[in-house]
Symmetry: D2
Subunit: 140 residues, 4 copies
């Protein structure tokens, strides 16, 4: 995975907690999903979308329908990680966020998370709203 | 903490997962709350209360208002633990579950978790319903 | 994903905990990795490999290098899920477990988790040991 | 719980994640232990003790032996919480951190977490080292 040329990325920094480690002495592979979710929430905020309000006011939700992760290097307790996130694709059916997780200059993990849009009430799938379609990456 | 004479207990057995461990090589202290919650759900089921239905149909919920845990012995990946749970106290204001967590004959942890009852809609505190008051431990 | 013809599967059953849910009212997408890990540990046990002992005695570990999940249907608090797991591929470099997660007859999630083998001491990659190579699926 | 007069506190700020919520629409009671642990690590760092190095170089660890939490107000997704932490007591046998968790001016949770000191190798209890004894709160 490469960050596409010209794409806009948003970064968050997190510090690996003790609770995030396992007896192998590294961050457990499931914890990355926590940090990737935080990164998506901050990406949306940086683009004018407050996700808490989005769910509450639009009565819509964005559940994960696909998650693909490649773990390249282990990360450890107290490491500071940068999670760099961008929209790889968005259309009426889905919204795909790609991320790289870096420790300094080292790529530790690559991830691709795909969301769909549903009505919060009954869970029926609906079209991605305009505010999210506007996140489409620029064609180069 | 002693199991009071004459009290009725319900046990569940769980196996410590790899994800539950931390780099200290033992189960992380936060995970016990997961297993204690499972134990309360099964205690209620064993006493005729399906908690999923309780929330859905009664429109009530039982949030935790107090948690007290004493960790006596560490537990490790793949350990099978018995969580023995009983109602220590119930009145209109609160419902207290006590538990001991055992690995074989060894007491590893003691816990006391207190719940109150709220309306699921607006979160206002309400009286403990009759079905839960009926869990009161027998006076000896 | 189809379960390949002739492949040997192992199933575990888990009950979705309250802690596993999120405010969307469904099991959070990260929790599946917990249950998939439990499924792999039980798969190995059913095939004569005690993973706790494996790490301790062989001084080897099997970290996750790739995780791919497709979420088809949401699952909810107190649902009983069956996680059916098999070895899709094993060679000297990697061991891939595939799983389907079922609620009754309904497929809720498909997952493919790839592990490599490392020395527990220094984290260097090593060849998959014979005991794990023996898990290779039968050629049909 | 009151913050004792003259005591030195350290604060961290965290944002409640979506994964931290449960179907009751609030942060799950177990997640507070994650944030309290982060607060202790930062308290120690602010007082010159890098806990990652402490475990690695001193070959000591500080497991939790007691946790007491009182939940006063629920907290929700995307809330920013302040965790204000201080050393309530330290002696050769134990180190007790007290914390209040605030959302703005509102007290949401009070917690008291007690640690002991063990040898990382064999888990035997040992005396709290001088660097930690030095965290003793000033007598007023």
């Amino acid at each position: 995975m490469r960050i596409p040329v010209g794409v806009e990325t948003t970064s968050i920094h997190v510090r690996v907690g003790y609770v995030d480690t396992d007896q192998g002495g590294v961050m457990h592979h499931s914890t990355y999903l926590r940090y990737l979710e935080m990164a998506r929430v901050e990406y949306l905020r940086a683009h004018g979308i407050d996700y808490a309000n989005f769910e509450l006011k639009q009565r819509l939700a964005l559940p994960v329908v696909e998650a693909n992760l490649r773990y390249k290097l282990p990360t450890r307790f107290d490491d500071v990680l940068e999670i760099k996130t961008w929209v790889a694709l968005v259309n009426r059916a889905k919204l795909q966020f790609d991320s790289v997780i870096l420790r300094g200059a080292n790529l530790t993990t690559m991830a691709s998370i795909t969301l769909c849009c549903i009505h919060a009430g009954d869970g029926r799938i609906c079209s991605m709203p305009t505010a999210l379609l506007a996140l489409a990456p620029a064609r180069v």
